[in-house]
């Protein structure tokens, strides 16, 4: 196990720069999730870490060693690919033992290593099968087994769950997290699914267009997103954004679209009349007499909660309630955001304005 330091790393393909100076410190044993929309550069960064792509500038170190010019096999990392990349002509045992075999390990050494990994992942009964004879979840586990056998310094996962169905994905999510808790190996995990990121990570790195938007623990990102992009990306359903102006004369409030009055606990300094974006998460609405009037458009009960789509000041917003409300489309309700939990963002730069 060891720490990983990514310092001001840039990557260009020809004249096109896809990573614009990324710095991420990763501590020993940490589970870091790189998350972001397609094309944000997260997979490229992971492949650079693995040594499958060259580093244009900046440095990546594993432990105390700068690995920019170190061959992939010398980096002591293991990677789980999105399509698993299992060798189709080898049995599960051979797949898992391949790296040991290439290293010139003895037969009994290989079989001990494979058996140990197979036990951890409950693969023992499948060791003689070929990849084609396995289900998606089993293949996924073999891919992880192949990584575990090598006992590497760092595990890399490249969207490992995106080929699985929804139910299996949730199960494997837990399994990977459990595995990490058991082995405590430094892990870098790439995904575009913010729920995966939230549930698994010690530290989330939100990337967008080749830069790091924010990094921090899942709840930090949820509670105090640094900008509008992170606010919109983390959380499901996504945060509601309403454009308007801050009113700071006397009691602070926010004037939303069509003059809708929305509560603010305090206004940022010198912000009176300033155009801004008001952000409120769907779960932070309550129904209160002093709320703003909204018209219900669609109601989606999921059993555990009720999602309500409503027009607030002409803008569509989503609200989620734990309690059961029997709303009908067209009903008028008074929605009140919790003023201690609302977010304010700069209208131009998208930067967070309130503390």
């Amino acid at each position: 196990m060891s720490s990983v330091q990514i310092r001001d790393v840039r990557k260009s393909f020809g004249n096109f720069e896809v990573l614009h100076g990324v710095t991420i410190p990763i501590e020993d044993g940490e589970f870091v999730v790189l998350v972001g929309p397609s094309g944000c550069g997260k997979s490229t960064l992971l492949r650079m870490l693995a040594g499958l792509e060259n580093i244009t500038s900046g440095t990546i170190s594993i432990g105390d060693r700068v690995v920019n010019n170190v061959q992939p096999k010398e980096r002591d990392i293991a990677m789980v690919f999105q399509n698993y990349a299992l060798y189709p002509h080898m049995t599960v045992a051979d797949n898992m033992g391949f790296s040991l075999k290439l290293r010139g390990a003895k037969a009994d050494e290989i079989s001990t290593g494979v058996k140990r990994a197979a036990e951890i992942l409950a693969l023992t009964p499948l060791l003689d099968r070929y990849p084609r004879q396995l289900s998606g979840g089993q293949r996924q586990r073999v891919a992880m087994g192949r990584a575990i056998v090598r006992d590497p310094q760092v595990f890399l996962f490249d969207e490992p769950l995106s080929n699985l169905d929804a139910k299996l994905r949730v199960a494997m999510r837990t399994e990977i997290k459990e595995l990490h808790q058991r082995l405590r190996t430094t892990t870098v995990y790439v995904t575009h699914d913010q729920i995966e990121a939230m549930t698994m990570a010690d530290k989330i790195v939100v990337m967008h267009d080749g830069i790091v938007e924010q990094m921090g623990s899942p709840l930090e990102l949820y509670d105090t997103p640094a900008n509008q992009f992170v606010a919109g990306f983390i959380g499901s359903p996504a945060m509601n954004f309403l454009k308007g102006n801050v009113k700071a004369n006397g009691a602070a409030y926010f004037e939303g679209p069509n003059g809708v009055k929305l509560p603010l606990k305090t206004a940022p300094a010198n912000s009176d009349g300033k155009p801004a974006v008001y952000g409120v998460r769907p779960e932070h609405f309550t129904i209160a007499d002093d709320g703003a009037e909204a018209e219900i458009v669609v109601v989606e009960p999921t059993g555990s909660e009720t999602q309500v789509f409503a027009k607030l000041g002409g803008e569509q917003v989503v609200a989620v309630f734990r309690e059961r409300h029997l709303f009908n489309p067209g009903d008028k309700v008074r929605l009140k955001p919790d003023p201690t939990l609302v977010h304010l963002f700069d209208d131009g730069t998208g930067k967070r304005l309130n503390g």
């Binding site: 096999k73 990677m79 790296s99 084609r132 004879q133 192949r146």
Partner: protein, 319 residues
Amino acid sequence: MADIALAPRRAKTEMREATAWDQLRHNKNWLGFWFMLPAMAFLIFFLAYPLGLGVWLSFTDARIGRIGHFIGTENYEWLWDDDIFWLSVTNTLLYTFVASTVKFAVGLYLALLLNERMPFKALLRAAVLIPFIVPTVLSALAFWWIFDSQFSIISWSLKHLGLITQNINFLGDTTWARICVIFANIWRGVPFVAITLLAGLQTVSPSLYEAATLDGASSWQMFRHITYPLLTPIIAVVMTFSVLFTFTDFQLIWAMTRGGPVNATHLMATLSYQRAIIGGQLGEGAAISSAMIPFLLGAIMISWFGLQRRKWQQGEGND
């Protein structure tokens, strides 16, 4: 509205027994038969019938212009004692073995080369196909000139380089003639092997190589443990075809040497043609051709058993 309700409707056609003809027209199994019929007719007329006729002729004393009589295995007994026939068998085996081996080696090498990233890749791939596209007789004629005893460009070049003083008698010397026809066959056959293997290489997922890189495989180990095993099914197919084509080769030899010098390049196919058509001994020629069948069947059997789907290729079974 009442009128409509009252009008007698013929909702169902009357039930009647389906005739045999109806069954032939509508039964799915028979439908399959109808679709198969054209292909079957084609194969019967152009493959099965000539094959059967050839085998039959080999048991007769037919000559051109004379219907033969059944003479049992006399033609074969005759061939058994015929040194030229045995020479042609040896030639054919040598020709097939050497040419196929070299074609496989060169073809695989070219395929691996063309699978790499390189400039003008598309152009190079197209260029590799050229020998395959040129009509055989045309390329044979070109080789005939290249290996001509007086005007050979090779002899001319070597002479000007001062390496030899006399023209090499390429097609007049038995050893040289064999080398030359084998070379020409290789030149013609390599593209087929190379392009087919290239197609096979491209079905190998790049992520397997990435995984192998991380597992610590060198280029040779990647070839040995990933490329080659994944390519074996297609290698089996390609080499079967290559062996069959080479074994039955006729055009190239006939255009370049006509089996000479002193029968050194006579293959079974060319000898059969010479005896049957030029010499008019249809029965004997047919016997030589028929003698190829066991060899060809043998080659097919080998690939059949080699080709049987490997365990790892078998379908998904989640028992």
